[in-house]
Symmetry: C2
Subunit: 222 residues, 2 copies
Amino acid sequence: MKKVDLAACPVCSKLDINDEEAFLDDLKCTIKAYGKNELIIRQGDVCDALYMLTQGSVKTEMITENGNILGIEIIKAPRPLAPAFVFSDNNHFPVDVTALEEVEIMKIPKTEIMRLMMTNPDFMSSFMTHNANRTQFLTNRLQLLSIKTIKGKLAHFLFENSQGEGKPFEINRNQTELADFFGVARPSLARSLSEMVQEGLISINKKEYIILNSKGLRELLV
Amino acid sequence: MKKVDLAACPVCSKLDINDEEAFLDDLKCTIKAYGKNELIIRQGDVCDALYMLTQGSVKTEMITENGNILGIEIIKAPRPLAPAFVFSDNNHFPVDVTALEEVEIMKIPKTEIMRLMMTNPDFMSSFMTHNANRTQFLTNRLQLLSIKTIKGKLAHFLFENSQGEGKPFEINRNQTELADFFGVARPSLARSLSEMVQEGLISINKKEYIILNSKGLRELLV
DNA sequence: ATTAAAGTGTAACAGTTGTTACACTATTGA
DNA sequence: TCAATAGTGTAACAACTGTTACACTTTAAT
């Protein structure tokens, strides 16, 4: 079995690394590989186990009832996928999960997770914290979506990623992906971006952005 | 101390009821009362304890950066408030919490929660499930917000609450609250509602709604 | 019963976003 | 190097929503 970097995983980081092999040997789980662009999990699938992404990276996206795509996030190994849903009463996945490259998924039964939490306080604590952080992530998405104007969303998003006025920073999404992330149409996003550049609020060079006028940018949030 | 209906609380329901008194006696916690319309928790407050709503009801709402209000939900006792955030790395409350009537809040330190989870597997399981359900709730909110048209949101919302075509059902929110819930302007919501009534899709009498044409209503989601 | 407050219906207009279409540039693989 | 593909810039118009304003109805309180 390929070695997994347990220490890098948010829910396993506190495990005693010396026990790692024993830990993995004891664990009853199955591993499955997926190719690039393959659909790993479909929105609505029953979630009866913990899906741990051990190799590669995936994207998650929510398909709304009117067929639009709402980008959620990009996840890199090692990290669990939607861990909270293993325990929910209505245990269905809320998103589509698609492989961005060659991917390996470890599927750990719910009973095993329960056993780990019982016997391993550190695992339990990490698991709780990770789920709490996921909730916070969703809350942030909610906040972003609730900003009504595209420029407002952009301002919020740019402030979140910037280190300060004048300092260049990278956004590793293209316009189409950004538009999906915001839940808006691509040409509308492009229009807002070019207007903000014309107004001297920001500058854009490929995927490198600079905030030129944070005061003016902040006014878009008012 | 006023008796609390532990069995009705989602995270305590599996506790042995015979131990209830001992459970509450052992628990190191403080209780505080709030009056109607009093602000109990402010968005951004540090969350270093579990806030358990033991009496009354509250509403939670998110204030966006542009000052708009996004209604989240109405919570009735007994239920914990934002339990997941006790364990998050950035443990700040994501919402304002306001008392809708006379309210009592039990504040349980994080260390006590940890102890309960360690010593009481049923509590742990309930706590996990409850947090998972909360995540699912947020996901649903996200899905609702990501529907772009007001009529689409309404259709989604009405289907969610209806028992079927022709069967009346109650919506216990007025138009202003519904508009906040959807994150739209009140007159815009009223316009959409009256158009949907005129088109024969639904009927409205005070807070009683009926879906008259579910086929037509479903088309608003496409 | 009367008054104040809350909630609803509606209109006109401004503003923002979506849609569609097409030209152009950049990137990638053969 | 070339061709194919992906990504970007932009325009015109339609569609939808927000804003503001005001009349009206219902509810709650005194």
